[in-house]
């Protein structure tokens, strides 16, 4: 199952890059068509100023919500959760980024059924790899995060593994023990893209690869699901996915000093 998930994620990353390239082309064309229009109207007044147009980047705070987690609660009865995302543009390419979330997930395995409930916070930065044209503000980013979660885990019921079935199959043992005060910390590499769909509204996809650094496990049980980190595996690795919609709150503008527009043309 998760094998497919990885493949899908991979496919997604490929698509993201591809689709992004196409849009740049179309927008390029649009701009080319528009340019002569403005020139004809203001040609007389702006003959000197027009030669090097002043490019300004917008800086501000972007806040949003993960729609994947939000909508999953509607079709998956074992899941309730929400994640808020935010980033703040520090420099041309660096963004301070953070995610804050709460999750309630019941993990139903063949032999175990447990519910993890808790909150998490992730903080770090994103680096924008994408060279935007003119006033475009799209992002294809690679980032790092540190994550921390505090949660509880309830063991609902379990099965006892008995290689001998001589005395017959025993029904699952109801337990209900709640292990509280559990914590976990991890680092993650975040790949993502955000596209401005209109005005200040952005839509984004993200894939995260996680590595568990610290994990406080309960006695006689294991953290099968960590809010924010997701399902745990035998090793320290984990994966995550999000689909966000966010709103950009512009705070100030900064001039782009180097006239990079010509240099950027042969992209990649």
């Amino acid at each position: 199952m998760s094998k497919y998930f990885f493949s899908i994620c991979l496919l997604f990353t490929v698509f993201l890059v591809q689709s992004q390239e196409i849009t740049t082309d179309t927008i390029k064309k649009e701009i080319k068509q528009e340019k002569p229009k403005s020139k004809t109207t203001k040609a007389v007044t702006e003959t000197i100023a027009d030669s090097v147009p002043v490019k300004k980047d917008r800086y501000g705070l972007r806040v949003g919500v993960d729609l994947y987690k939000l909508t999953r609660g509607f079709y998956d009865k074992d899941y309730k959760g929400v994640e808020f995302v935010g980033d703040f543009r520090l420099t041309k390419n660096y963004y301070l980024a953070a995610e804050l979330g709460i999750e309630d997930k019941t993990t139903d395995d063949d032999r175990l059924n447990s519910t993890a409930t808790g909150t998490y916070i992730k903080g770090g930065f994103d680096y924008n790899l994408y060279n935007n044209w003119l006033d475009m503000e799209n992002i294809i980013s690679v980032g790092l995060r540190g994550g921390f979660s505090t949660f509880s885990q309830q063991l609902n019921h379990y099965k006892i593994y008995n290689s001998s079935q001589y005395w017959g199959e025993i029904p699952p043992v109801a337990d209900g023990t709640k292990y509280t005060g559990l914590t976990a910390a991890w680092a993650e590499v975040a790949l993502g893209m955000k596209a401005k769909v209109f005005n200040n509204v952005f839509v984004g996809f993200g894939v995260q690869l996680k590595m568990l650094l610290a994990n406080k496990e309960p006695d006689n049980f294991e953290n099968l699901y960590i809010p924010g980190f997701n399902r745990t595996y035998d090793g320290n690795f984990g994966v995550g996915f999000n689909y966000t919609v966010s709103y950009f709150i512009p705070l100030y503008k900064k001039k782009v000093i180097i006239p990079e527009t010509e240099k950027k043309a042969p992209k990649k």
Binding site: L10, D109, L129, Y161, Y166, L209, E222, L224, D234
Partner: protein
């Protein structure tokens, strides 16, 4: 930065290939069976093989299978010097009938003894794939009760608890001298 991207792609491929599946490995120590070893009553340090021993749990129609590859009759029989029998995981005592010379051509030779093992249980977490296992501890008071079943005398002349903690199958828990 491009290098990092490639690295991550390779990394993802790597992750997807080395991911384990959710099947409990047969080598994982799970719920142990009770290991009984048989010894010679005259020279207690020497192991002695039983002959055509059949072990049946109380109220069970069939015996414990000792020989997977055997026929309908022989798969329940053992002529070795130790046996592994499953204890109940949902009760604190299990009763077995030990039938020596079972299915012999001469029914007179068959001798049945009955032992009830008394123990406490503990469920221990193993893994996501295996779930839990049960480990046992034979009671210090009355770890077992021996009965002659069938009025044919007792063939187990002495029964001793060797290791009351039943956690693994690689050690003897109970010694039977005959």
């Amino acid at each position: 930065m491009k290098k990092i991207l490639y690295f991550l792609l390779v990394f993802t491929f790597g992750l997807s290939s080395c991911e384990k599946d959710d099947i409990c490995d047969a080598n994982t120590p799970t719920t142990p069976r009770l290991i009984i070893s048989f010894y010679d009553i005259t020279t207690p340090s020497v192991k002695k093989s039983v002959t055509r021993l059949k072990v049946t749990g109380k109220d069970q129609p069939e015996g414990v299978i000792f020989n997977e590859g055997g026929t309908e009759i022989t798969k329940y029989l053992t002529s070795g010097d130790s046996i592994a029998i499953p204890l109940k995981i949902n009760e604190d005592s299990t009763t077995f009938s030990f039938i020596l010379n079972s299915d012999s051509s001469n029914p007179e030779l068959a001798n049945t003894d009955e032992i009830t093992f008394n123990y406490s249980r503990q469920n221990i977490y193993v893994s996501r794939a295996c779930g839990f296992k049960t480990i046992y501890r034979l009671n210090t008071q009355n770890p077992f009760v021996k009965n002659d079943s069938g009025n044919d005398g007792i063939w187990m002349q002495d029964v001793r608890v060797y290791n009351p903690n039943i956690e693994f199958e690689n050690e003897t828990h109970v010694k039977v001298f005959f």
